[in-house]
């Protein structure tokens, strides 16, 4: 079974790691509730760190 979500144009900035795996034709194993992306309309995109450049402290 599959769920497909379609967002309107320019509505969401999908997380970079998910996009880059997909560009390599690789699916990403995720769980319910993991971050998917941020609204482009909220104007708060810059507030959150990019998942890929996130470092553990």
């Amino acid at each position: 079974s599959t769920v497909i979500c379609v967002f309107e144009k320019d509505a969401i900035q999908i997380d970079e790691d998910l996009l880059s795996n997909s560009e390599r034709s690789l699916e990403t194993l995720v769980s319910v509730g993991m971050r998917l992306g941020i609204s482009k309309r909220s104007g708060r995109i810059d507030e959150l760190p990019n998942m890929e450049t996130c470092k553990l402290e």
Binding site: V6, E8, R24, L36, S39
Partner: protein, 591 residues
């Protein structure tokens, strides 16, 4: 012949004065693993905290031994990111000893969670994963400790709360400068043709030529004099190693990797050194642990082991191995950044390829198989709702061992009276934390699944969906689709049989509508999605729901049925306000 990394690692017991001296210098820079009762090393550790910013270099991990609960022949696999390595197979014992070491590159922002799997093997049955553990290298290598051996519990793949044995490992990070010297010493030993531990001028000149640096070749004599401190006309390896380490610091001597010939200096010094160290080890077969595998499952296939013992597999070639090589699917685990192999029964793969990836197969579908799929699914639905079906639950859990964790389920196995009840099992409250629950501008994943995400339908067609007739309008239907959706982003959540089968809302908002679109029940497996002859997303039975949100505008949520699992149930109604992460419905067996 220049020794092996295993021999290097055990220099401390060689009794050779030279080696002992080297080992002493080398081990002073080890960052020790966290405390344990064992004490493997004899040198007092000089411990430096490893900051996250500095987390790049080479980690040395040695898998020493394990204590299992029964006798068998065992091997272990070590996975980090997209690479997996395996030890040799032990004797028939419950206490296997491997003493296998592997160097791993730790990159800034790269994977940090290493997984060790212990697999039983014998002539009568296939290899079985018995236990595993995970180590956050960033965490353990940054801790100060006196000792360097760790004993870790091995967990049951089907229940992370059950221990099935223990494993001892040694883990530390090499200091980059020491690694550079260490590498220089090893490569210099290659040109020490008479093996006297010293290089004559002609041997030295040969080495400089091999480095491919024209400037250095002109200055060979000067460099030699610089290294030959006592002026006796020969230079010992320590002197040369120091020279090269110092020289690399100022004006790099080495332009090309002497092993593979690749030109260096494109990135930075550290990367060059890492490249050469690993190239040298891999290229000469010096590492005790063999590599080149993508997952621990792949490493356990004997025939792949023979074929690809030293093969490098480009990460860009992976993913679905389509066409004639489609036998398994690889996915990236977002949490560990490692690759996981999805289990599909071999017979199913063959039949799916026959049906979905050939014109003949699709012609068959057009001449009645569509109805057949519907009938099979309805029949299967009835069967899975019978009490008789409950006896299939333990076998199902066994087949997906390691990928289905019953300790997360709200109820134990005995609670489920039918297979379908088990299939739509709920999870314990809090089993799936919701990211940023207070922020509606952040969307979350809608299912436990394998996810693909694209900024546009065109990108999805380029990288994943190969059905020639796919379009957003075809997916949503004319009544629901708008021009904003046509150019919008697309996220595909594919649930595998072993997954938790309830889906959740990815965004907060009001449910505007549900539209049923009748259709067939093709499989939604990537083998079909990747077939140009098949248009599963636009021809399968599905329900399109529109959620109206303040942060994302309208979001279309399409639940698509598939072969056998064709029943779609929603647990929310039109007009309901939903919070992201709320349960939205489930898929179950049936037509």
């Amino acid at each position: 012949g220049h020794g092996s990394s295993r021999a290097d690692a055990s220099d401390d017991s060689s009794g050779d004065g030279h080696a002992r001296h080297h080992h002493s210098r080398f081990s002073r820079f080890r960052r020790r693993f966290r405390s344990n009762r064992h004490d493997h090393g004899s040198d007092p550790p000089l411990v430096k905290n490893l900051a996250a910013d500095d987390f790049a270099g080479i980690a040395r991990i040695e898998i020493i031994s394990a204590e299992m609960q029964f006798k068998d022949r065992w091997f272990a696999c070590l996975s980090l990111g997209e690479r997996t390595y395996r030890t040799e197979t032990s004797d028939h014992t419950e206490k296997p000893i491997w003493r296998s070491e592997k160097k791993l590159v730790l990159e800034k922002d790269g994977p940090t969670i290493a997984r060790i799997s212990v697999i039983e093997t014998n002539r009568l049955s296939k290899n079985n994963l018995v236990g595993y553990c995970e180590i956050n290298l960033l965490e353990v290598l940054s801790q100060e400790s006196e000792n360097n051996i760790e004993e870790l519990s091995l967990l049951d793949p089907s229940s992370s709360s059950t221990t099935v044995g223990s494993i001892s490992i040694l883990c530390y990070v090499e200091d980059p400068i020491e690694t550079e010297k260490f590498f220089a010493r090893r490569i210099l030993s290659v040109v020490d043709l008479n093996g006297d531990g010293k290089l004559s001028y002609s041997e030295f000149a040969e080495l400089i030529n091999a480095f491919g640096n024209q400037v250095a070749a002109i200055k060979t004599e000067d460099l030699f004099k610089q290294a030959d401190k006592n002026g006796d006309g020969v230079v010992d390896l320590d002197e040369l190693a120091t020279l090269i380490a110092v020289q690399q610091e100022n004006e790099p001597l080495i332009n090309n990797c002497p092993v593979c010939g690749e030109s260096l200096g494109k990135l930075d010094k550290l990367n060059d050194m890492i490249h050469m160290t690993l190239c040298f080890d891999e290229g000469t077969g010096n590492q005790v642990m063999t590599g080149g595998f993508l997952t621990d499952k792949e490493a356990s296939y004997g025939w792949i082991f023979k074929l690809s013992e030293w093969a490098h597999v480009s990460s860009y070639d992976i993913g679905l191995r389509s066409g004639s090589s489609a036998s398994h699917i690889l996915v990236v685990d977002r949490r560990t950044k490692g690759l996981v192999e999805e289990i599909i029964d071999g017979k199913i793969v063959l039949s799916m390829r026959a049906i979905y990836q050939s014109k003949v197969g699709l012609t068959l579908i057009n001449t009645g198989v569509k109805d057949l799929l519907q009938n099979i699914s309805e029949k299967q639905g009835k069967r899975m709702n019978s009490h008789e079906s409950a006896k299939d639950i333990p076998k199902f859990i066994e087949f997906f061992i390691g990928q289905l964790k019953m300790d997360e389920a709200k109820y134990p196995i005995e609670y489920f009276k039918t297979f379908n009840e088990f299939f739509i099992r709920e999870l314990k409250p809090g089993a799936r934390p919701i990211a940023y629950p207070e922020r509606d501008d952040i969307a979350v994943c809608a299912a436990d699944c394998r996810l693909m995400a694209f900024n546009s339908a065109n990108e999805s067609l380029r990288f994943w969906i190969k059905g020639r007739k796919f379009s957003i309008q075809g997916l949503l239907g004319k009544d629901t689709c708008s021009s904003a959706f046509v150019d919008g982003s697309l996220v595909i959540f594919r649930l595998a049989p072993q997954d938790y089968h309830r889906f959740h809302v990815p965004v907060s908002g009001t449910i505007e509508s549900f539209v049923d679109i009748p259709g067939y029940l093709y499989t939604v497996n990537p083998i079909a999605v990747n077939s140009k002859y098949c248009n599963v997303f636009t021809e399968n039975k599905r329900v399109v729901s529109i959620i109206s949100t303040s942060e994302f505008g309208k979001v279309a949520f399409v639940a698509i049925g598939a072969t056998m699992v064709g029943s779609i149930t929603f647990t929310k109604n039109e007009g309901d306000y939903v919070h992201k992460g709320d349960e939205f419905g489930y898929f179950s067996f049936g037509g």
